[in-house]
């Protein structure tokens, strides 16, 4: 009986469908996908018409999106090109979203409901200038028109088809146009600007045909500084370049009159350098000094009055006209853990239309922007909703004193990702809230069985799908046996750390890092990378794991560094320190101390090495390995690769025993006139290789050259480092190197003539795969280089092995100069690449697949067997048996092997692979603007049952078999009895 069922079970295993790809109903079982838009720059509400209320937003990541105002969900979204920065957005005719982008040279209209582009027009002009977009309800030749000022030219563009109705150039070299104003109800336009930064110029233009009606200019003694603020349709306020004199200039009917007021007249204490804040509230403007934000009202003829001085971080919105001739604007101020939202009418500072206090999560930081919109309540009074953008780039909608929805758009700009294990499940503590009882378990499986036999009704199918997606198993907060449940810890550009659960992608915790917070000593902090600081294993299981966040106080590499240590279970920042040295490189060392804290070496800009953690124990461990630490640096600008080792303790005047001097071991100087470094790639530190030997046909063995010190460098001709098509094939080439980073030995060098970058490369085990552009064929190519250790090749002799005359036990070391051979092959590949990665499994037994992030923001899995230099047009029988695929000139793209299936990871930046505990499975996390996570089994899940394995079918079969045995037993007994009677 036991044997029988075992055989059956065996057959079950072998009968599993070989699924490499997904069925449509499996979407969402192992994968999740999240969409973001990034930090909002400008938002326009669309709430006038009946129907769904929307908000249109443009972001710093060059995205145009419309969001549902009720839920914050994305209706549609378009990602513009990297150079296509959005200058302005607006809604025209109530149905088109107008965007001005690319420095004012591209004007597009999008259909508001579905995001279809309606028209696009290209605007040129004589010179580079500020870009301004102004929607009017002006009608020229029966067309509603837009006024666009860009590139030194004023254009009137039809809303219907994007045609330019008239244009007017402002060619004067020194003219800087600041504002384009259309006084309400008039049919002329003012163009206001500075000439030679000391002349104020106004142009009055006929809006119907672009004719210049009047031009006035006035010279000032001082110089203007940048921005102007519009006080009314015929008055502007500006600051002079010293930031101490306020100018109010009115140009009523083309006559310029101005008033100068020193800032010190308005404020008792000297405010320091002031900056004008861009706002459009009638009668009021704001200036910002180091200490405060000051609101100033313009009364009558250039008389100024300070209405409020706020010392908190204050943000003001643009004006919103709520009824005929009445404007309102919003102010947001911080007070402890609350924010105060105040909406005031423009004409009366002292009264409030709305005053609300909302509790705000401290982890969101300060408010950066506010946009308001009004609605009419049932009692005919005005209600307001405010959209606020926070310091961590999140977007929140506030209405009636509460947060209606929030979006974590900081996740659209992830800098680095690492993973952390979840806590171990402790006995007696049930973490899962609802444990299924046996009956429900069985019921579920019967349903599943019905599903497999295609007997299920639509309701059943819905129930099955719900059950599969909502499986409590995958979102538990504990470690699982297969290692599928982990925390993905992501550092974002806003300096916030997020922990995402791999099961369903929810945010477990988030923390705005103190060390990456703007402060006096650190004005421009940026996050660099994340490292696993402490991974408790055996003897420190009580400790929580933690991650190290490395950052620096400025964009240059010699800015001082900052470090943070964050507990990865709770998100608490338990240590944060400002370093006295810069951080150029972070090297996690393969040594840990007694509490499993990993030793890290931080290399500063002066090539000193600093050891962390700064404990005596760490230094003891480090001393014993002192002579084994090597590192390298790549200087792209000068084309120099250098190798270093440690020398002595720092010789500086400060006795710092954790600081070490380095010595240069080797350097490779590439000729700067012919080669420019564009890409480097190294092996992942945590990659496991199962075996060094590779069995090939005819019982032969090849030994892979496996060294963790391998560096891949790709250089191109300096001329060809630009975009595709800028050079001819004759003057471009691509040179690739394989370098040993300990000795500086160039193991391999190869030139691809007529090729150019960009190069994407991945190095794993003993091979490197890279992608580049072949100008001769005008196609993308992918090449593979495999490197083999020839010095071990003669170990095939059995006698040598028996006698012991072999070198198999000698370690692979950079010290020994191994003889290597390389094999290489190239193939065409259809798409451009954004990222490339390779699957990573815990023991490295499973065969590898490449994960290719294509230009269409999809992730394609490609078997490494397609990139095998031993492929030939006609493989021999033995080679075929080995699994060598006949050579083709291009790599196949099989739609079913897109691991992102029908989804896009917009703005894809990188693909991260993490090994699960189960050997067959890799966890894949792709991030860009969107996040995508899935489990991927490169050689199918050979070591576990698939998710759709039907236990019920197995059970029923066993029951049926047992019944059959009993029936046959009874039958056979009866027959025997009859035989006896006979």
């Amino acid at each position: 009986m036991a044997i029988m069922s075992f055989i059956f079970a065996f057959f079950f295993f072998s009968s599993l469908q070989p699924i490499l790809s997904l069925y449509e109903d499996q979407v969402g079982l192992m994968d999740w996908h999240q969409q973001y838009i990034g930090k909002v720059k400008q938002a326009v509400f669309h709430t006038h018409k009946t129907g769904r209320k929307r908000v249109v937003a443009s972001t710093e990541q060059n995205i145009i999106a419309t969001l549902d105002l009720r839920s914050g969900e994305i209706f549609w979204r378009h990602v513009l090109g990297p150079n296509d920065v959005v200058d302005g957005i607006d809604i025209a005719l109530g149905k088109y979203v107008i965007t001005l982008s690319s420095g004012g040279s591209i004007l597009r209209a999008w259909n508001l409901p579905d995001g279809q582009m309606v028209w696009e027009s290209s605007l040129h002009g004589p010179k580079h200038s500020k870009s301004l977009l102004l929607t009017t309800n002006l009608i020229i030749e029966k067309d509603n028109s837009l006024i666009v000022f860009s590139n030194g030219r004023l254009n009137a563009v039809s809303c219907i088809d994007g045609e330019v109705l008239w244009k007017k150039d402002f060619e004067e070299e020194s003219l800087e146009v600041q504002q384009v104003i259309q006084p309400p109800g008039s049919d002329f336009i003012y163009v206001v600007g500075f000439a030679a930064s000391s002349q104020f110029e106004t142009y009055k233009i006929n809006a119907k045909n672009g004719e210049l009606l009047k031009h006035e200019s006035t010279a000032f003694s001082g110089r203007f500084s940048g921005e102007v603020s519009l006080v009314s349709s015929e008055t502007v306020a500006a600051l002079d370049s010293t930031g101490s004199i306020l100018l109010t200039i009115s140009f009523h009917n083309g006559k310029i009159s101005s008033q100068q007021t020193p800032v010190s007249n308005l404020l008792e204490d000297s405010p320091g350098l002031a900056v004008i804040i861009h706002s459009s509230v009638t009668g009021i403007f704001a200036i910002k000094t180091d200490a405060a934000t000051i609101f100033i009202r313009v009364i009558g003829e250039g008389k100024l009055e300070v209405v409020e001085k706020t010392n908190h971080e204050t943000v003001v919105s643009d004006a919103l006209s709520i009824s005929e001739g009445q404007q309102a604007f919003a102010l947001v101020q911080h007070a402890g853990s609350n924010i105060h939202l105040t909406v005031k009418p423009a004409h009366d500072w002292d009264s409030n239309l709305l005053k609300e206090s909302i509790k705000m999560d401290q982890q969101r930081g300060f408010v950066h922007k506010v946009f308001i919109n009004n609605y009419i309540r049932t009692d005919r009074s005005h209600g307001f909703r405010a959209l606020i953008v926070m310091e961590d780039h999140s977007l929140l909608l506030l209405q009636q004193g509460a947060i209606v929805w929030s979006r974590e758009d900081g996740l659209a700009s992830i800098i680095d990702v690492t993973t952390s294990e979840l806590p171990v499940e402790k006995a007696g503590v049930s973490v899962a809230k609802v444990e299924l009882n046996l009956f429900e378990w069985l019921k579920g499986h019967v349903l599943k069985l019905k599903g497999t036999l295609m007997l299920a009704t639509p309701e059943d199918i819905a129930a099955i799908q719900y059950m599969r997606l909502k499986s409590s198993e995958k979102s538990k907060m504990t470690r699982d046996h297969n290692g599928f449940r982990k925390l993905l810890i992501a550092l974002t550009r806003a300096g916030k750390l997020f922990a995402l659960h791999t099961g369903d992608g929810r945010i477990v915790w988030s923390h705005l890092l103190q060390s990456l917070h703007k402060s006096e000593s650190c004005r421009q902090p940026i996050g660099l990378n994340l490292h696993q600081w402490q991974v408790p294993h055996h003897h420190a299981l009580d400790e929580n794991p933690s991650v190290l966040v490395v950052g620096r106080c400025g964009p240059s590499s010699d800015a001082l560094g900052v470090l943070s240590l964050v507990d990865s279970y709770t998100g608490k920042e338990f240590s944060s320190l400002r370093l006295v040295h810069s951080v150029a490189q972070v090297i996690p060392l393969p040594y840990t101390d007694s509490t499993e804290q990993r030793l890290h070496l931080l290399i500063d800009a002066d090539k000193h090495a600093h050891l962390y953690p700064k404990t005596p124990e760490a230094i003891d461990i480090f001393q014993s390995e002192f002579s084994n630490v090597y590192w390298y640096s790549v200087d792209d600008d000068n084309g120099i690769i250098k190798g270093y080792a440690l020398k002595t303790k720092c010789s500086g005047n400060v006795a710092d025993e954790f600081c070490f001097d380095s010595r240069e071991l080797w350097s490779i100087v590439l000729p700067s006139e012919s080669e420019k470094i564009i890409t480097t790639a190294t092996r992942k530190l945590n990659e496991a290789v199962h075996t060094q030997a590779k069995l090939i046909a005819d019982q032969d063995v090849m030994y892979k050259y496996i060294s963790s010190n391998l560096l891949f460098v790709a250089t191109v001709a300096p001329k060809a480092s630009g975009e595709i098509g800028s050079v001819t094939p004759e003057e471009s080439w691509l040179v690739v190197y394989l370098i040993d980073t300990v000795t500086g030995r160039v193991l391999h060098r190869m030139t691809h003539h007529g090729s150019q970058g960009p190069v994407q490369a991945v190095l794993s085990e003993n091979w490197v795969v890279y992608h580049y552009f072949n100008l001769r064929a005008h196609r993308y190519e992918m090449s593979v280089i495999e490197i083999y250790d020839q010095s071990r090749a003669d170990n095939k002799d059995v006698w040598k092995l028996v006698v012991g005359n072999h070198n198999l036990t000698s370690p692979v070391s950079s010290y020994s100069r191994a003889e290597v051979i390389t094999k290489s092959q190239s193939y065409f590949f259809t798409h451009s690449l954004k990222a490339i990665a390779v699957t990573l499994t815990v023991k490295g037994i499973t065969s590898k697949q490449l994960l290719i992030g294509t230009i269409g923001d999809q992730v394609l899995a490609l078997d490494k067997r397609f990139l095998d230099p031993r492929r030939s047009v006609n493989p021999t029988q033995a080679e075929r048996e080995e699994g060598i695929i006949p050579l083709t000139d291009s790599l196949p793209i099989i739609p079913q092997s897109y691991i992102t299936h029908s989804l896009r990871v917009e703005g894809l930046q990188s693909i991260i692979t993490v090994a699960a505990k189960l050997e067959s499975t890799t966890l894949v996390f792709a991030h860009g603007l969107d996040l995508f996570f899935t489990h991927y089994a490169p050689s199918r899940t050979y070591d576990s049952l698939t998710e759709d394995f039907s236990y019920a079918l197995l059970l029923i079969t066993i029951v049926a078999l047992v019944a059959a045995i009993f029936v046959t037993w009874i039958l056979s007994q009866r027959k025997e009895l009859q035989d006896r009677w006979r």
Partner: protein, 264 residues
């Protein structure tokens, strides 16, 4: 300016050229440039007439300018491309993406599918979108060879090599890079549809029977029902002998294996 006047009289046949030369001022650089422009225009015109006449204007010019240094000729050739368009070195590429009806009827029929199509130039350096009729354009593109890719979920498009010629503005040569097929006009059509999901086989008796489980059950049934038939057809003498043989060897029957069978 003597020679330039001579020039104009010689080129009476080329009206376009005359104007240009007349514009030429006394500044020598300016003059050279105008001449260069003129030459390029002339070359273009003559090309239409036939290949044999291509050299004619050039030789005429050089003959007329025997007094001028040979450097001028060099300038003539080198500066020709930059003049062939009004806005220098910037061209527009216009094209169309056409998704044939009938394709894409299943699956990804998301609302506004055309709005999710992106057209990318040179690996994402420029990105543009489709108008409702499928047309797209790239503005301000320098002359040279470019690569256009179309990203559309559900379709496989071949990248297109586009040559923007400086000599013939507006003339765009295009070829699919996948199959090297030339395109007479820039109309991009998907090479094939992409199906991202495996299709579940509908339930059928045959597939159940073909599965290992089905085969096993089939085999068992065959054994259970066909074997007795075979036994029946056997010669009774032989059967008895075989049974005796079996008994002597002590092969247990199924009933004796089970607890109840121990009785006999």
């Amino acid at each position: 300016m003597a020679f330039s006047c001579k020039n104009s009289s010689k080129f009476n046949g080329f009206s376009g050229c005359i104007k240009m030369v007349m514009v030429g001022t006394s500044a020598i650089m300016m003059q050279r440039r105008t001449l260069a422009m003129e030459a390029s225009l002339c070359v273009k015109k003559s090309k239409k007439k036939g290949a044999d006449s291509v050299t004619r204007p050039n030789s005429q010019i050089s003959a007329a300018m025997a007094a001028v240094t040979p450097l001028l000729l060099l300038l003539l050739l080198s500066s020709a491309p930059s003049f062939s368009s009004g806005s220098r070195n910037a061209y527009n590429i216009n094209g169309r993406v056409k998704i044939p009806q009938g394709l894409g009827t299943k699956g990804y029929a998301l609302p506004g599918r055309m709005s999710n199509v992106k057209v990318l130039l040179n690996g994402g350096q420029n990105i543009t979108f489709l108008r409702p009729d499928g047309y797209f354009s790239f503005h301000n593109i320098p002359a040279g060879t470019h690569l256009i890719e179309v990203s559309a979920i559900g379709y496989f498009f071949s990248p297109v090599r586009v040559d923007v010629s400086a000599r013939n503005p507006g003339k765009v040569q295009a070829a699919l890079t996948e199959n090297r097929k030339g395109l007479s006009e820039l109309v991009l059509e998907p090479l094939r549809e992409e199906q991202y999901y495996e299709i579940r086989e509908p339930f059928s008796i045959m597939s159940l029977l073909k599965s290992p489980m089905g085969l096993m059950v089939g085999f068992m049934l065959a054994v259970a029902f066909l074997m007795p038939k075979l036994v029946e057809n056997m010669d009774p003498e032989e059967m008895r002998r075989a049974q005796e043989e079996m008994r002597s060897q002590g092969v247990p029957s199924l009933s004796s294996l089970l607890p109840g069978g121990a009785r006999n």
